[in-house]
Subunit: 117 residues, 2 copies
DNA sequence: ATAACGTACAACCGAATGGTTGTACGTACT
DNA sequence: AGTACGTACAACCATTCGGTTGTACGTTAT
């Protein structure tokens, strides 16, 4: 999957920060792997107050990892794999940078006379 | 690149938290893409105190994204692409979860009688 | 030997984080 | 109509974060 990553630094900060919490990672895991759940259904699974889970969902939503759609008195939370792909794409980009450097080092080592100036 | 992701939740928290800062992402970008740099060389590039950059490097180091090796009075900072791969692997895993779910939904829609019980 | 450099580390500060409880309000059930 | 449910939101609290300055100490250069 190829993903163009032109998210702002602030958006990336929010995105990675959202992923930097075990409870939040667990929430997106559940959401991506099957269950579309209301906030209270999600909250029931964790050993903390409803409000705390509500805040976690809000963080995920602001990061774009999750969307909420109203349905009756409930809010159904759905995972958003696109934003996840953005994060992965950036990491892959960084790895690629490393690989490029590495192969360049290889070339330098293979070529005894470096083509400088 | 296939990466087995068996990092503790705490380690993943540290990893993603380290990536959730523009300055720190910039540091790893520089390190992976060419320059092995001392802490002060790095610090010179940013509009903040040496100590602040030092702290950022420390966060990256605790997350395993970077290593420091002493060389004379300097500490040379190097990027560690392996840890980056761990983060990417986890995201890919989550995306895969979504894809699996999606194809299962496809199957359910294609098969009018769901194979339940 | 002395001065300059590179680093480590502590103390401090304001803002953000992750949690709590309490209140308010729309929706659904009886 | 009244009660229970699901959500939103504010206020509060302890801790962490991202930054600062200052001090100490080993290494390099003069």
């Amino acid at each position: 999957m190829v993903v163009r990553t032109h998210l702002s630094n602030a958006a990336l900060d929010r995105l990675f920060h959202a992923l930097a919490d075990t409870t939040r990672r667990d929430i997106v895991t559940r959401l991506l792997g099957g269950e579309d759940a209301s906030v209270s259904t999600l909250a029931a699974r964790y050993d903390m107050s409803f409000a705390a889970v509500q805040k976690h969902v809000a963080v995920l939503e602001e990061a774009g990892l999750v969307t909420k759609r109203p349905q009756g008195r409930e809010r159904i939370v759905r995972g958003n794999p696109k934003q996840l792909a953005h994060a992965r794409a950036l990491l892959q980009q960084l790895e690629q940078l490393w690989i490029a450097r590495f192969s360049q080092l290889d070339a330098i080592l293979a070529e005894p006379r470096p083509p400088q100036e």
